[in-house]
Subunit: 380 residues, 2 copies
């Protein structure tokens, strides 16, 4: 079966690699750099230390950290202003920071507004700024993907997709993930696990993508629980971070499926952490999914150390238990019912993830999955 | 343990992908292209068909095919003349064609002679021409490596190394390998197998490289014998081609070891196919090597479907038997003795492969290995 694997950026892995960001920027020949970094990381002193590294290399560095939560067009535009004139862009943080940095590296190169590229309205510039991506959460895989999400002027979720947005260099430093609280470690880790699982088992799965996805499943299965329970265990943190990166490569080539249909639909209704929403959607659909009984499902189960796919639902629920994931929705979902979720799951922008799922999803299936999700307690 | 994985070019895999070379060049925005292709392939009509593809896309294409055997500086210079002025370079053939194309893409961009870059005398140009690599043998892994070999003005083997020489796009088309004779399929396939094995087990082995190397071992172990015995079995040809490509990624990051010390030493004495020489060197040293009893050796054995590393020597000899590899040296080795081979194995340019080997190689070991190789019959 034919397949293609988009280019994979240079990946460096190791403890305290964040101390080499300045020299990495220097190796790109940069004299000016822009750092897009999560606000709380900037306040922790990390931004200042990286600016100092840059100065030691003779690089003038500016910082943009004025954002929080899901990226909005205003964040992207502000980041683009800061990035314009720099030769290299460094994204440090969770998926939001990385997405903003990747988009800004394109917009700053062309002078165009992000809306010019949203939903593939126009081709991306061929020569974006050089990009170094340094994830501090282990989940989104944005460091190795070509997909970038932000909310448009009317609050609607938009995407910019293209190889031009991909990183040139990825630095994976498990030390940067050590301060991630246990619940975020678990939610992000499950997001990565589900990226790998869905990429390896959906209708677009292929040998090239499965190669990365199965390794991600092996790494995450082996280390996620330990990373949650022993936050300073750098070996476990490292495996989860590398697994998340490989899972990002897998979705970059093969995409996701029903669990992401549900989590994107939930995000359209009320604020909820993407990893938590995806984990809840995955658990609500997995027993139904594995009835498809495909070779890909069995291969994914084997990568998790299981004998066959029938063991997956219990295994995943057990993993979520052991990682302390509370099955509950944020309070904001109190005003939302199953019908509203079902409608959102059928919205046009969520159909690609419905169609890519290995089983056909009927409207009755959607009603059932939505009811299952909305029957969860609404917690704080 | 820290590691880094150099960028991996976009890889497309599928039967008859060579029919898309013209559209791939077009997608790079090229109006002019240069094709570096093995002479016998050019004569088979393949070059003409690709030129016609290019013309259909509005691309003016020139062809360089005036070379055979190991690349010499004259070939590289002639290729650079043909390539100069083109926007994209397409390499089609065995490792020689690909190496020449990759070097010419750099030299044509800068206007410098290849000797300017040999042995890392000067940094490579930052903006080489775009490169599409289409291997027609499954062995060298040149399509995914940064190493390029040619003979200098005095006949001495030289190398040009650097990420700037790497492909932007790799097209893996098993159909192009179907006419490879059985002995070349076996020799090249063993070269790929040994690339993967040595990269996964030498002193520079790391998690990133082993990930690619183990997949290569799985693919090659499963398919090489079938590809040799059933030349039109495209599934087997495809697995060997993909395995060779992944093995190329593995050596690009972790290098080789003693078997390549021996084959490079042999090449310094008389003409011999690189894959055959490497296979002979591997078989002569493997029983000694596995006494090191490392975790990496056992993991490589497992990737070959074995229980542990002690099974490797018999397994490899059996695989070589089943692939019909005759243990014999070319006639040109009649005038060469073990002492000469040992001296060559100790030559400065072959020491990196000696030092990277997981066991220390004493001069007595070298004498023994050289005697073992030179005791082989000298055939036609």
């Amino acid at each position: 079966m034919p397949f293609s694997i988009s280019f994979v950026p240079e990946i460096r892995f190791g403890e305290n690699l964040h101390e080499t960001i300045g020299s990495a920027a220097k190796a790109f020949g940069a004299h000016t750099a822009a750092i897009v970094i999560d606000g709380f990381l900037a306040q922790s002193g990390l931004a200042g230390r990286i600016v100092a590294q840059m100065q030691a290399e003779g690089i003038e560095a500016r910082v943009f950290s004025d954002f929080a939560g899901e990226p909005k067009i205003a964040h992207v535009r502000h980041a683009t202003e800061v990035v314009t004139g720099a030769e290299v862009v460094i994204g440090i943080g969770g998926g939001s920071a990385l997405d903003i940095a990747k988009i800004a590296a394109c917009c700053a190169a062309s002078g165009e507004d992000a809306m010019h590229y949203a939903l593939a309205a126009n081709p991306l510039p061929k020569n974006p700024l050089k990009k170094i991506m340094v994830p501090t959460t282990a989940g989104t895989g944005s460091e190795t993907s070509a997909t970038n999400i932000f909310a448009g002027p009317e609050g609607k979720k938009l995407w910019i997709w293209g190889a031009e947005t991909k990183a040139d260099l990825v630095l994976l430093d498990p030390v940067l993930t050590a301060t991630l609280p246990a619940n975020l470690t678990a939610w992000c880790g499950m997001d990565a696990f589900i990226h790998a699982f869905e990429a390896a088992t959906n209708r677009n799965a292929h040998a090239g993508g499965k190669f990365y996805a199965h390794e991600a499943l092996r790494l995450l299965t082996g280390a996620l629980e330990t990373a949650v329970k022993e936050p300073d265990n750098m070996a476990a943190r490292g495996k989860v971070l590398l697994g998340s990166c490989y899972a990002g490569i897998a979705i970059d080539n093969c995409g996701t499926a029903v669990a992401h249909n549900i989590s994107h639909a939930m995000a359209g209704l009320a604020p909820v952490h993407h990893g938590l929403a995806t984990a809840l959607g995955f658990e609500a659909t997995l027993a139904w999914l594995v009835e498809a009984d495909t070779a890909d499902l069995h291969a994914a189960a084997k990568a998790c150390g299981l004998v066959d796919a029938a063991e997956l639902p219990a295994f995943v629920s057990g993993l979520m238990d052991r990682c302390g994931i509370v099955r509950a929705l944020p309070k904001a979902f109190a005003a939302i019912d199953a019908q509203m979720l079902a409608t959102e799951m059928k919205a046009p922008e969520n159909q690609p993830m419905r169609r890519s799922t290995i089983r056909d999803i009927s409207d009755a299936d959607i009603a059932r999955f939505a009811a299952s999700i909305m029957s969860l307690p609404k917690a704080a």
